[in-house]
């Protein structure tokens, strides 16, 4: 996945700069560390996401338009609303220095994570889902 994109992202000092006293106290950033209103650039869409859209019967990224690459404890991460937690990006993935490309990678990883048999909701559904 994303083999062409080998440019390593510069260690984000942006995250540290914005850390308020309140954020330090609670150990987590508040609100957003990225532009939530950034609309996706469809030229950057990955082949995996194209297949996903086709499989779901949609015409575009649909709910994934609101997914962005964020940061959790200064590590790149994507927020999974189903698990209500940040999923950190595996270290071996080199992230491009461009928010649009990073967002596409975040979307792809999130979908893979949610469809993985290791997703935390799988066990929850087994235990509590109504038949």
């Amino acid at each position: 996945m994303a083999k062409k994109k080998k440019i390593k992202i510069k260690k984000s000092s942006r995250a540290k700069e914005k850390e308020s006293a309140r954020e330090k106290m609670i150990g987590q950033h508040i609100g957003y560390r990225y532009d939530v209103n950034l609309v996706p650039d469809y030229k950057k869409i990955t082949p995996f996401l194209k297949k996903y859209i086709e499989c779901m019967g949609w015409d575009d990224l649909n709910w994934l338009e609101d997914i962005h690459m964020g940061y959790e404890e200064n590590r790149p991460a994507v927020f999974d609303r189903n698990a209500n937690g940040w999923v950190t990006i595996p270290k071996k993935i080199k992230l491009p220095d461009n928010q649009q490309d990073r967002d596409m990678i975040a979307r792809e990883l999130l979908v893979k994570f949610q469809m993985s048999p290791n997703h935390p909701l799988v066990d929850l559904k087994k235990a509590y889902k109504k038949v």
């Binding site: 309140r22 609100g31 499989c55 015409d59 609101d66 937690g85 999923v87 994570f113 469809m115 290791n118």
Partner: protein, 283 residues
């Protein structure tokens, strides 16, 4: 904020919320990013869009019809046509599956609420709070919609080709609402994320108390609400709007570059006053 302080001193403290620290919410990376090209969510039904059936809702209650749709998905039907919905309330709610669902007629209140994935087409009108709490998917309404259209939606595309009532997109936290006609008062009231496109005119107090998100208006705006301000349309916005309107099958005669963009002035931002538990909802 005076009230909030009061709550901090009494209820929140007694519940121990002040000691709570939001660590430990990070998921461990225990999956291989190269795995799982199965395009299947655990617990959902594997349906085939080419397998089509029809249901007559004339003599069915809302619960009976919703159960029927669920059982058809279990049997692998990917396209379901519902005839004679007759404006009944709460039809097509809670569908957490990919599905092609067509309603031949109008829906009452709270139609297709809390859905996560289906593509729904409604040939008639819809009542209050259509697609409330929608998570993903696409809903197309051919005629008009009532108030609170797309209330609190989190994701997906919600399209009304006609006009909509007041408080469209109230409290929305994601997704896109597209309206071909006019929108009533308080459109985008308290919206926190997401995008609203109104091709016609809007009523008073557009985007009142909006925290974040974007509203695009093609027609006239009667008045802006508190903390809603005009912003510059970027070339990326123009490209995205053209694409989105094409997907919505409306607005082919609209000059997208003349659309007005409204965003939050962010004077109401007050994250530092939030309790850690409240912040979960803000993300």
């Amino acid at each position: 904020m005076a009230n909030l302080k009061q709550v901090k001193d009494s209820k929140a403290k007694s519940m121990g919320l002040h000691k709570e620290v939001l660590r430990g919410r990070t998921q461990q990376v225990f999956f291989n990013p190269e795995e799982a090209e199965n395009f299947f969510y655990y617990g959902s039904h594997n349906v085939d869009f080419n397998k089509r059936t029809e249901v007559d809702a004339k003599d069915l209650t809302c619960k009976e019809l919703n159960d029927k749709i669920n059982s058809l998905m279990k049997d692998g039907y990917g396209t379901v046509v519902v005839k004679n919905p007759q404006g009944k309330h709460s039809l097509g709610v809670g569908i957490l599956n990919k599905l092609n669902l067509i309603f031949e007629g109008s829906l009452g209140y709270f139609g297709v609420g809390s859905i996560d994935g289906p593509v729904v087409r409604i040939t008639g009108r819809v009542g209050w709070s259509c697609a409330e709490n929608m998570m993903a998917g696409k809903v197309v309404i051919e005629k008009n919609a009532g108030s609170c259209f797309g209330a609190a939606i989190r994701g997906g595309d919600l399209i009304c080709k006609g006009s909509v009532g007041a408080r469209t997109g109230i409290d929305m936290k994601g997704g896109t609402i597209i309206v071909g006609g006019d929108a009533g008062a308080f459109t985008g009231f308290m919206m926190q994320r997401g995008r609203i496109i109104i091709l016609g005119n809007t009523g008073i107090n557009l985007g009142d108390s909006m925290y974040d998100g974007t509203i695009f208006v093609g027609g006239k705006i009667k008045s802006l609400g508190s903390d809603a301000i005009k912003s510059k349309l970027t070339s990326q916005d123009v490209d995205w709007l053209k694409r989105k309107l094409k997907v919505a099958e409306i607005g082919s005669n609209i000059n997208v570059s003349k659309i007005t963009k409204i965003v939050a002035g962010k004077k109401l931002w007050n994250y530092d006053q939030l309790e850690p538990t409240e912040k979960k909802g803000a993300i």
